[in-house]
Symmetry: C2
């Protein structure tokens, strides 16, 4: 491995001069700059980022914390968008990223987790989809040892920023459009899991709408799975004017149930990802740009790592009519 020392010798300058050229310091004559760059090229020199990090004490890596399962699942597609957005932005900002899956840290308490991250030179963490039940990560956040960005959970402190769309408003918006389009009076709402932060926010949005438009609403707990939504719809949709679901996947389940029952009800979903397969129908949904959200999360965590304070970041959403012709692949 060719080191900075050899480059310096080859160029006939000091090591520090090479370093300065490398890092774009001012006050270097064009002439020496050229000499150094020539040497670098000739020797095919590659800077050692490890040594650089050690020397400059710029450790500060960023951990992306996701919770995929051994079983393939629809949400994996969202995870990929998160990863893609984060890695692209991290490369742009020159931040090293470590991908961490929940299974790798299962069983660790907050203290072990802290040690684990520190030993990996991690100083910033992005947590995707924090659960209300996850006391360990919440402790980690409260301890403020790391710069944290929480996606889709309203957690903020001096070292923690929250990034997400306004779920309350988004749920309100998409349901309102659906209700008004078809002059519905009664709603079946299939919500998300109990332990998710967004679930409650979306229910609030529904309640606001129901109050405002003087509607009636039946809320049934879903779990973001197609199957459960299907069963709920089979049981309760008949007496309702429309079905509002807290995810596109559940909307598909509900839609299939309606088809099986041979009745029509407007259905609306949430997420706006193209995973629904070909069924020749259409529906309203909330579209979020998971890539952009994750990209922003990286920017925010960088700010925190550089000493900024935590804040609440609200990303834009839109309501779109999706055609089920959108294909999975």
């Amino acid at each position: 491995m060719v080191s900075i020392k050899e480059v310096a010798r080859h160029a006939g300058v000091a090591i520090s001069t090479v370093s300065k050229v490398l890092n774009g310091y001012p006050n270097i004559s064009e002439e020496t700059k050229k000499k150094v760059n020539d040497a670098i090229r000739e020797l095919n020199y590659i800077p050692n980022s490890i040594a650089s990090a050690l020397s400059s004490k710029q450790f500060g890596r960023l951990a992306l914390l996701l919770d995929p399962k051994r079983q393939t699942q629809a949400i994996d597609q969202i995870f990929m968008q998160y990863l893609l957005g984060a890695l692209d932005k991290a490369k742009e900002l020159n931040v090293e990223v470590v991908t961490v899956f929940a299974s790798m840290i299962a069983g660790m308490d907050a203290e072990e987790l802290t040690r684990y991250f520190l030993s990996q030179s991690i100083s910033g963490i992005i947590i995707y989809g924090l659960s209300k039940e996850d006391k360990i990560l919440q402790k980690l956040i409260e301890d403020r040892n790391f710069a944290c960005v929480v996606v889709d959970a309203p957690v903020v402190n001096e070292r923690t920023t929250s990034v997400s769309i306004d779920h309350e408003q988004a749920q309100y918006d998409v349901a309102k459009k659906t209700v008004l389009d078809d002059k519905c009076k009664s709603i079946l709402y299939i919500s998300g899991k109990k332990d998710g932060f967004v679930t409650e926010q979306r229910i609030q949005g529904m309640k606001r709408l129901v109050e405002e438009l003087k509607l009636s609403m039946l809320i049934r707990r879903g779990d973001f799975s197609e199957m459960t939504a299907r069963n709920v719809a089979l049981k309760y949709a008949k007496n309702r004017d429309c079905v509002v679901c807290a995810s596109d996947l559940m909307a598909i389940g509900a839609m299939n149930a309606l088809i099986d029952m041979d009745i029509f009800r407007p259905v609306c979903g949430f997420d706006g990802i193209t995973l629904m397969g070909y069924v020749g129908k259409q529906m309203n949904t909330v579209r979020q740009d998971f890539y952009a959200i994750s990209s922003r999360a990286v920017e925010e965590v960088k700010l925190l790592m550089d000493g900024g304070g935590g804040q609440q970041v609200v990303m834009p959403h839109s309501i779109v009519k999706m055609y089920y012709k959108d294909i999975i692949c």
Copy 2:
């Protein structure tokens, strides 16, 4: 940040002694070992992996090379299984992993890519789904600067191992079962993309079967998308006894086309992931364990990084009957 120096001072020993305890060297008395460990615990000392790597010159990180798109896609679910399998195993083997997406290295030629990886202290690479058209990565592999493992492509040299199931045999197996179950005589085969290594292997499997059982076969190029498979099936399935598809997703597309045409044909797929949604049908498919494949790939790349030679690793597959009731989420 508490360093090894403070631990040494606290324990009343030399730095090197602490280092030896840390790395499990022999010839350390139980007594000093205890002193050191106590100090470590008291000070809450965390070894700096960066400094350790620099000092021991053990760089050797592992890059995982994937190609997800900005658009959500079914294959994302397979990617997640790959990532999960690789990261779990890497943690077990204590290998540092860097996730790299194709978009991050787009436009680089083999030489730039080499420099990029080297500057990141990467010495091993796992390439998932290498395309025949990707001359740059193929050059990278041929250059032998890195320990490479290629998943789903039959590329082997001294520094390159191939890991995948036997696609020829798997395609043969699943099609044979489907054909024999229903006594089919003519097949519509919807293949994968032209530029994939596995596409050709699977076609070979089909050809072997056709010859052995004296069948007739019409091959149409698909692209692993539901939509294309649907269109192909609409056009050609009517005159054929069954439809064999090179992916589950295409099988769904074909199945939906058959339903629309209101005709029945046995359909078989490939992959065995549960992404098909609820349609109340069933079909044969090849099941591969993507997690296990990726896990094995990491083991193999570790062997290569430690000086081993390249080889061809064939992972097991099985033929299963999948019920479409398997739900996406």
